[in-house]
Subunit: 379 residues, 2 copies
C-alpha cells in the first residue's frame, strides 16, 4: 500500500492510499496484470475486524465518500452527511472504506492506466469488466486491509448494484447490505439511454477508437453529451418542472439561430462540461456498460437461486421518482429476494429528486437507512 | 400549384401537390421569400367549403397521412387506419388535407431549400420558425384551396401542438380540434432530451455549422443519435420491458470490447440509421426547437387568455404511458382550457406504447376520437 495523504475533512479524517491487488481475471475474459485500487478509509478496524463498512460510489464518483468541501472536492465527500461521529455511519464505531472501482479513472486501474509491458494506456484494449469483477476486486482490498466481515455494504445506482452483488457473491462475508436505487438488472430504458451516451462518445472524432491519450485532445464533446443523457435519467419530470420549468437561461444561446436557451439546457451544458474536467471518456464507456450488463442471476439457474445465496440482511431502498431504477422494480427485487428466502426488506424515499436522491435527500435517506443500521447495533 | 402525382393508395386516392404561399414573416424575426408547402389531399371539398379536415404530422413525418404501403412509403400513410371510406375520417364525407410543415424537408420550404437570390441552401440562415408560423403557413394553403372552415384539425405531438394552436390562432376558422399527446408547452424533460439530440447533430464534424449540403457528407451519426434520444421519449419503460426486455440482439456488437448488444440497442441503432436516409439534420434542429419554444400563451396575458379565444370544440387526448407530454399534463391543459371558457374535453388512451401510441394504437385512438367526431356529424 502507498500512503498518498493523511489529510481529510476535519470531522472525518481520511486515509487515502493505493493497494495493488495483483493480477485479475475478469469474468467475461481477458487478463489484467498488476491491478491497483485507490481507496480511502475513515475510523479504525476493531480487534474482531468485523466493524467494516464498504461504501460503493456511483458511476462518475470516486473513493472520496466523506469529507468537507476542499480544493480537490468542492462539494465534499459524496456521502459526507451520512459519515462521521453521530451520523448514521459513525466512524467512532465503524471502519469505513471506499474504493474507486475497477475500470474507473480516479486512482484505480482502468482504460487510462498504462498497460503493463507496453508504454501506452489500455484504452479499448481494457477488458470488459462487470459489477461482479468490481466486487471481487474490492474483496481483495478488504482482505488486505484485514477485514474479516463487512458490517455493511451500501451504495446507490451502480454502487447499489455492487452492494447487492456483494451479498450474493460473498454471502458469509456480509452482515448487512443496502442497495439504493438499484435492482438485479437494469431495464431497457436505462440501457438505451446508456447506449446513447456511449454512441455520442464514440462518434466524437477526438475519441479515435479510444486512443486519444497523449494526442492533446479528448472526446469532451461526446462525453458531455453522454453526461447530459445521464443527467436526464438521474432526475424526474416533476423535479425538473419544479427546478427549471420553462425558465430561460441567462447565458447566450449556443446557436443564436435556434433561439434563447432554456435553463434546463444551460444546466445540462454545465453538467456536461463539468464532467469532462474530471472523468475519462473510456472509463465512462466501460462503467456504463458494466451497469447494462449486470444481471444478478448471471451464472445461476435463476434470479431466485442467486438471491437464495444471500445470508445478509438486505434493505432495498427505492426512490419514488427514479426512472433509471424505478421504485416499483426495486420493490419487486426486494420481494423476489424475500421469496427466495433472503432476509430482505424494502424502504422507499418519497421525493421529486429522482434517481439522484441518494446523493442529496439526506434527511429522507437517513430516515430510510438508520432504523436498519440501528437494529444491527442492538442485535 | 404544381401537381406532382395523382396516385395514392387504392382506398384513398391522394392528390399530391406543392403550393407557393409567397413571402412569409416568421414571428421571431427574419423573412422568407417564396415559401412553398407540399401537401396531399383526399376526398373533395363540398360546396359550402366547410368539410375540410387538416391533419398535422409529427416531427419526422410528412404530408403522406393516408395511403397503403408503397415504394416511397413502405409503412403507408402515417394515419392511414384513420382515413378512408368507413373510417373515422371518411373521405366520402371529408376533404382531408395534410401539408409538410414549414421548416420541414419533404417538399416544403426548410433549411435544405435554396435561399432565393443565392445558389445555396438556407442551412442555419433559415429563420427560427415556431408552431404558430407553421399554423399561419397552413392557413394560407387552406385559403388557396378554397377552404372556408375546418371541420377538424388533428395531430399528435408537434402535430398536436399545432392543432391546439390552430384553435387559438384562428378561432372562427376551426369547428373541432383534436390535439393528441400535446399540451400548450413542452416540459423541461422534453426540452432537455431535445437539446441532447441537437447537440449530437451539431457535434458531428460533418455538420459543418449546417453547411453540409453539396459536400458529399451529412451529419448522419449526429442525426442518428438525436433520433435515438427521440425514440426514448416516444416509448415507455413498461412498453420497452415488454417489447425488448434484456434480450440480446442477433447482430454483432458495435464495439466487441464492450460486450454483446442488447436488442434495445440494436433497435435504436436501426431507428437512427433509418432516419438519416429520409430526413434532413438541419430540419431536425429547427423542428425540434419549434417544439421546445412553443408556448400557447405567447403573445397573450396568460395561458387562460389564449384558451379563452377558442371557439372550437377541443378534445385533448392523453396517453397514459407518454413521458414526452405526460397524460397528467394533457389533462391539465384540457382543464385549463375548460376553465378559460373553452368547450374542451379530455380522453385518455390506456396503453404501454408511450407517446407513439398516436401512430400505432388504432383501436384505442379510434375509440377516443370517434365519439367526438360523430357528435359533430349529428349536430
Amino acid at each position: 500500500m502507498t500512503l498518498e495523504s493523511g489529510a481529510g475533512a476535519s470531522h472525518a479524517p481520511a486515509l487515502r492510499a493505493h493497494h495493488r491487488i495483483g493480477s485479475f481475471e475478469p469474468e467475461l475474459g481477458g487478463n489484467l496484470q498488476d491491478v491497483t485500487l485507490a481507496y480511502e478509509t475513515w475510523g479504525e478496524l476493531n480487534d474482531a475486524a468485523d466493524n467494516a463498512v464498504l461504501l460503493v460510489h456511483a458511476l462518475t464518483g470516486d473513493s472520496h465518500a466523506a469529507g468537507r468541501p476542499s480544493e480537490g472536492y468542492k462539494r465534499g465527500g459524496w456521502w459526507d452527511p451520512m459519515v462521521g461521529p453521530g451520523l448514521p455511519l459513525d466512524i467512532d464505531k465503524y471502519f469505513v472504506v471506499c474504493s474507486n472501482v475497477l475500470g474507473g479513472c480516479s486512482g484505480s486501474t482502468g482504460p487510462a492506466s498504462t498497460q503493463p509491458g507496453t508504454r501506452r494506456p489500455y484504452a479499448m484494449r481494457f477488458p470488459v469488466v462487470t459489477i461482479r469483477d468490481m466486487v471481487r476486486a474490492q474483496r481483495r482490498l478488504l482482505d488486505a486491509l484485514g477485514v474479516r466481515r463487512l458490517a455493511l455494504v451500501a451504495g446507490g445506482s451502480i454502487g447499489g448494484q455492487q452492494a447487492l452483488e456483494w451479498a450474493v457473491e460473498f454471502p458469509a462475508f456480509v452482515e448487512k447490505a443496502v442497495p439504493v436505487a438499484a435492482t438485479g438488472a437494469l431495464g431497457p430504458q436505462g440501457v438505451g439511454m446508456s447506449e446513447i451516451g456511449r454512441r455520442a462518445i464514440m462518434a466524437d472524432p477526438d475519441w479515435r477508437d479510444g486512443d486519444y491519450y497523449g494526442t492533446g485532445r479528448r472526446p469532451d464533446e461526446g462525453l458531455a453529451i453522454a453526461r447530459m443523457a445521464g443527467m436526464m435519467t438521474y432526475q424526474s419530470a416533476a423535479g425538473q418542472w419544479e427546478r427549471f420549468g420553462r425558465r430561460p437561461a441567462g447565458r447566450p444561446a449556443l446557436h443564436p439561430e435556434l433561439g434563447g436557451r432554456f435553463e434546463i439546457e444551460s444546466y445540462l451544458h454545465y453538467q456536461g462540461r463539468e464532467l469532462t474536467d474530471r472523468f475519462d471518456a473510456n472509463s465512462y464507456l466501460y462503467l456504463s456498460r458494466a451497469m447494462d450488463l449486470h444481471d444478478v442471476s448471471s451464472g445461476y439457474e435463476s434470479e431466485a437461486e442467486a438471491y437464495s445465496r444471500i445470508e445478509a440482511e438486505v434493505l432495498f431502498v427505492g426512490i419514488t421518482s427514479d426512472w433509471l431504477f424505478p421504485a416499483a422494480e426495486v420493490r419487486d427485487a426486494a420481494e423476489k429476494a424475500r421469496q427466495a428466502g433472503a432476509n430482505a426488506s424494502y424502504a422507499e424515499i418519497d421525493t421529486l429528486s429522482g434517481h439522484d436522491a441518494f446523493l442529496k435527500d439526506w434527511k429522507e435517506l437517513t430516515e430510510a437507512v438508520e432504523p436498519f443500521l440501528t437494529k444491527k447495533a442492538e442485535s
